[in-house]
């Protein structure tokens, strides 16, 4: 605490914020189109599905778990929706089916971790790859067209001048915020990572909390999967490869850590912004797609390194190991 006051206010600003500011400055210079309203809307639209998945991943990480299946779940959901549409089901049923599939995958993750006792990342990687496999088998590895107007409206439509996907992300985020900070569920999530024994002692069924957390993460991945299907107008098992990395990166850059349930979904917004601005800026600046892959990995990892360093100085906690 003392160290914190000594270091002064400005040094408490996490490095992620500096990097966002720096990126904006650079992009403003390099790419004239960056600071236009339409482009900023673009950033927000790109951020929308990522924010939705990342919030789910954040809750899982708060419980000292991990979810590597979200990218696969998103792909599967886009496939399920497209196939249900193709089979002639109404769009609402199709979307419900997709959400159900995602939620089910999430719950399976939870059962594997909390009841069966598998290490979280083996469990989620295993379930995720099975979800991917199901997606592949259902589509024979092909992309399935899904040009339903309601589905497309999620990306193209707007309400009161605001793009639908932004509204959807904001709504999802709002609901999650209520869940996390206004109800016992959120307190359970934070306690499960912080001190599960304390939670057990007051009579909470920690296993159920854990299963539910993975379920929520799966459900949110499913919502994001709908947005991806809507944007591409298709269902494809590999549509969201690598999204898990972005989501985990956004969570950690934001300041949620794997220890003691520290952090929160509010912080993840910052991480999501960083990644989305980075990606959009690279596009606007005309950097070729091929360079983006490695560059984004580099920036995300670099920010995390800075962030770990930053927290070590602020907390002055250079203990033995």
């Amino acid at each position: 605490m003392q160290v914190k006051t000594l270091l002064g206010q400005w040094r408490q600003i996490p490095p992620a914020i500096w990097i966002v500011v720096l990126m904006c400055l650079i992009y403003g210079k390099v790419a004239p189109g960056f600071f236009t309203l339409s482009n900023l809307t673009n950033v927000a639209m790109q951020a929308a599905p990522l924010l939705i998945v990342a919030v789910g991943v954040t809750t899982v990480i708060l419980t000292e778990g991990i979810d590597l299946s979200v990218g696969f779940i998103m792909g599967l959901v886009s496939v399920v929706v497209s196939l249900l549409l193709k089979a002639g089901l109404g769009i609402w049923w199709a979307m419900l089916g997709g959400l159900g599939a995602g939620f089910l995958c999430g719950l399976t993750n939870g059962v594997m971790v909390a009841s069966v006792g598998l290490p979280p990342f083996i469990a989620t990687l295993g379930v995720g790859s099975m979800a991917y496999g199901v997606g592949l088998v259902l589509t024979e590895g092909q992309s399935i067209q899904a040009l339903d107007p309601v589905l497309l409206f999620l990306t193209n439509g707007s309400l009161a001048g605001v793009n639908m996907s932004i509204i959807l992300a904001a709504a999802v985020f709002g609901i999650c915020w209520l869940l996390m900070y206004e109800t016992a569920f959120g307190r359970n999530v934070i306690s499960l990572g912080g001190n599960p024994e304390a939670l057990r002692v007051v009579g909470v069924n920690t296993r159920r909390v854990s299963i539910l957390v993975y379920g929520v993460s799966g459900l949110l991945a499913a919502v994001a999967g709908l947005l991806v299907a809507s944007r591409t107008g298709s269902g494809y098992a590999a549509a969201a490869m690598g999204w898990d990395f972005d989501a985990i990166g956004a969570t950690i850059i934001g300041g949620t850590s794997f220890e003691e349930g520290k952090g929160g979904i509010g912080k993840t917004v910052l991480g999501v912004l960083l990644i989305s601005i980075l990606r959009n800026g690279l596009n606007v600046a005309g950097v070729h797609n091929m360079y983006q892959f490695a560059l984004i990995g580099l920036v995300v990892l670099g920010t995390i390194v800075l962030d770990v360093r930053f927290r070590q100085t602020v907390e002055g906690g250079l203990k033995a190991q």
Binding site: M1, L178, E182, T183, A184, F185, R187, I190, S191, G194, N195, E197, A198, L199, R200, V201, V202, G203, V204, E260, G261, K262, G263, L318, A320
Partner: protein, 507 residues
């Protein structure tokens, strides 16, 4: 005081791997009394309290609540009977705020039937609960940001706010300052008048006299007896706890201190002792006394290259050394037997033989190729020499008793052939028999010409074992005694900062 016990335990037996923690223990507590449970470390006090609170289940015996047998399968069961308590372990959630911790899983709701928490009421009530202790804490702070004393008070407030009928307090004052201790005692007095039955675990005799009515003594997991506290003297209590009088306990062969082994000059460690001057010679045992938090452990961690040195000098055999890592210090012939053997001493899931050579592999196998048979025979020698009770050196150390685990750690350091050995709380949590053996071994090591630094919270041990004693208070060395000059009162008062000229704020 009413005479009917509200909670009673009969013939409780609890077996842990390698140790019989409780062996036919009886205990009862009546409404409106403070029943103290005392015993040495490892006597089984905490195990018994956990059984009473439903955290762990007894193997045998029964528990009666208001005369009727009950089963406590979980802490929730206990809570439903009105049994609540403060555990020795940290039971707060670090990143939840004070109010959230106090109201964990019983938050006030904003609207009936809806899951939304009424934050305003929760904070208000938390403030009321805390102000009953005279605490002005911002209830919106995460408990992680409070110091340990405040955390402990939050923990106690959390239990008291559930209005328990039986209150179990397991060493609640360990982390508290004077002022908070007296507030806590006032509250306990108040609760007693209201008819709450209180189980109070401690090993501080003064404290017990202040608030206790009856006292039950445990020794090595066995029930020794229950007495009215006013009917016994401190000496009698100690004898009940220890089983013999103190004077016979500590072996001291004739020792002849030789050359200077290790010297500190103006030694300051980050977050630890400041400006320490300190000498140990070969062939002597030097005791370090002080309260928890006085800087004893930080001092030796500094010497061992774990915590960074701020200034000052460390000389080993007269040569200046800057400690950088344990690895370097081990090569210079220093060994540190840490206070927390499970965390810093042992690989619990590894067998005895690999633990024995963990710090000395390179010495045995300079060419880098390990022969497991040789390792086993080395370990077997130590098992014999230190009388470690284990069916085989291939046994994982987690299955050994505390005393035998400690001996494995000692074997590890002996095997480095270190000439300067630092023992941090070498007999904490081990039974009396093993204690005597550890003492004999330390005596023998000193006699063979090793330099030994011993940290201990057990004053009789410090007095009995040491050739010289340094006393630390609030990160400073405030006194030095030779064997025979010191007595319990002198050291205790220095430990508490009396007569040191340093401002007191610890009990």
């Amino acid at each position: 005081m009413s005479s009917q016990p509200i909670l009673e335990a009969r013939g409780i037996v609890k077996q842990f791997p390698g140790v019989r923690a409780l062996d036919g223990v009886n205990f009862d507590v009546r409404p409106g009394e403070v029943h103290v449970l005392i015993g040495e470390n490892g006597a089984g006090k905490s195990t018994l309290s956990k059984i009473l609170m439903g955290v762990i289940a007894a193997d045998e015996g029964e528990i009666l609540f208001e005369g009727r047998p009950i089963r406590l399968r979980s802490p929730l069961d206990a809570r439903q009977h009105g049994i609540g308590g403060v555990y020795q372990e940290f039971m707060l959630v670090p990143w939840l705020n004070v109010a959230q911790n106090i109201f964990l899983n019983r938050e006030p709701r904003r609207w009936k039937g809806l899951p939304f928490v009424d934050h305003r009421r929760m904070h208000e009530e938390s403030r009321e609960i805390l102000s009953a202790f005279g605490l002005e804490v911002d209830t919106r702070l995460p408990v992680k940001h409070l110091d340990t004393a405040l955390q402990q008070m939050v923990e106690i407030s959390k239990v008291l706010s559930t209005s328990p009928r039986v209150l179990v307090l397991d060493e609640p004052t360990a982390m508290l300052t004077d002022r908070e201790v007296s507030r806590l005692f006032e509250r306990i007095e108040e609760l007693r008048r209201q008819g709450v039955a209180i189980v109070y675990i401690s090993h501080r005799l003064q404290e017990i006299r202040k608030i206790g009515d009856r006292v039950t003594v445990l020794r090595d997991g066995r029930y020794v007896g229950t007495v009215n506290i006013r009917d016994v003297s401190d000496d009698q209590l100690v004898e009940m706890m220890v089983g013999r009088s103190i004077s016979q306990m500590y072996p001291r062969s004739r020792r002849a201190p030789g050359a200077e082994a290790l010297r500190l000059q103006g030694f300051s460690v980050k977050g630890g002792p400041q400006e320490a001057d300190f000498v140990v010679r070969y062939g002597e045992i030097v005791g370090l006394a002080g309260l928890v938090g006085a800087g004893r452990t930080e001092l030796v961690r500094g010497i061992f290259g774990i915590d960074p040195i701020q200034k000052g000098e460390l000389l080993i055999d007269g040569r200046k050394v800057t400690p950088r890592s344990p690895n370097q210090m081990i090569q210079l012939g220093v060994g540190l037997l840490s206070e927390d053997r499970k965390r810093f001493g042992l690989a619990l899931k590894s067998p005895v033989h690999w633990n024995t050579v963990m710090a000395s592999l390179r010495r045995h196998f300079p060419r880098g190729v390990v022969r497991e048979r040789k390792v086993q025979s080395i370990a077997r020698e130590y098992v014999e020499k230190l009388r470690i009770v284990t069916p085989s050196v291939l046994r994982q150390v987690r299955y050994l008793s505390g005393g035998n685990q400690q001996k494995v750690v000692m074997a590890k350091w002996l095997d480095t052939k270190a000439k300067i050995l630092i023992f941090d709380e070498p007999t904490r949590g081990i039974d009396v028999g093993a204690k005597a053996e550890v003492h004999a071994l330390m005596d023998q090591l000193a006699q063979e010409g090793n330099a030994i630094i011993m940290i201990s919270s057990d004053l009789p041990e410090v007095l009995g074992m040491s050739d010289r004693i340094y006393v630390l208070f609030q990160k400073r060395i405030v006194g030095e005694f030779k064997h025979g000059e010191a007595n319990q009162e002198k050291i205790a008062s220095l430990m508490l900062g009396i007569g040191t000229g340093v401002k007191t704020n610890a009990s």
